[in-house]
Assembly symmetry: C2
Homo-oligomer: 201 residues x 2
């Protein structure tokens, strides 16, 4: 094995890198080799960047986004509408919405979904923070940007109940045919949702 060959340092690096999503043991080994070949150009700056990110990046105390500031740049941006909060499951979803550039309000990252199967209850999610923000006033609408999965929708219902009675309107993203999607390839659930929500031309 290469382990016996090249000492424990390389093996340890391969083992850690192969835990990243999208990298298996084989591609992690290729990546390690690439890093060791480009020591000055890549390995050294990557080490420094990881160290800096590990030291500086934390969860925003308001919304749960990741940022180097205590309160993230979305929460402090005065140009963003603080009356609109989009609730997402994960920071990755927040990034996806920002990439699309379609939302100019603020976010709230739950950090997961309710899941009876995985034993995740409401106390595991960042729900108290959301209720607090809604109670603090100034919020007109909470948009549920949760995944259209069973867990996502269960969570959406739970959040709706939680906010009900506060006078804040709760909406969710529309279901339907994805732009560029072909009917032939869509599941029945999507087609049914698209039919139910059909609109006048």
């Amino acid at each position: 094995m290469a382990g016996a060959l090249s000492g424990p340092e390389i093996e340890r690096l391969v083992q850690l890198l192969s835990r990243l999503p999208g990298l298996g043991p084989r591609s992690a080994r290729r990546a390690v080799l690439f890093l060791l070949k480009k020591k000055e150009a890549l390995l050294v700056p990557l080490t420094a960047a990881l160290e800096e990110a590990g030291r500086k990046i934390k969860s925003c105390q308001t919304c749960g986004n990741l940022d180097s500031a205590e309160t993230c740049s979305v929460c402090t941006d005065p140009r963003r509408d603080s009356g609109l909060i989009c609730v997402v499951e994960d920071v990755a979803d927040l990034w996806a919405l920002e990439r699309a550039g379609v939302f100019r309000g603020r976010y709230h990252v739950l950090g997961g979904t309710l899941s009876a199967l995985d034993g995740r209850g409401p106390e595991q999610l960042n729900l108290a923070g959301l209720v607090e923000r809604v109670k603090a006033g100034g919020v007109r609408e909470v948009v549920l940007g949760l995944n259209a999965t069973v867990e996502g929708q269960t969570t959406a219902h739970y959040v709706t109940d939680l906010i009900a009675g506060s006078g804040v309107s709760v909406t969710r993203l529309a279901h339907g045919v994805p732009v560029g999607g072909e009917l032939d390839y869509l599941d029945e659930g999507t087609l049914a949702a698209a039919f139910a929500a059909r609109r006048a031309m």
Copy 2:
């Protein structure tokens, strides 16, 4: 963009990670998020492992393998046949042969192939070291474990000429049908080589 969102530290990390083979910008972003979520369990140990590897791992002064020792563990292993040298293009090839566990001699890593197109001449490769090792005596056979590409085979001929006259026999890996391979999917070059090298049952 997420860059404006999450500060320059995350963007820098994404940019560096996306230079690794097998990781595009999108999977690098996913990896960064994963790292930041598992700070203590993954980001911190990975930073330490990279730092250690960057500091300790170097090219073996004899064969070009990567190791934390000046002379690598393959070159110092007394159980390995020092009369046999397998010449490979890259450390990745050395690792692949070690994984297969089919060779118990030593290696010589050229660090590339000759390529007129890419302007790589003999002086860019670790050829002087090979000639030195052959001249030093004790070597019976040099096995060329080079890729069956145009560049690999050009390099193989060059190395053969270089060693010719030293009394050391030069061999190359066999070409043929890969084990588990189906004829229907093989190219003509491989089939021709397999025919030419056919053996009695």
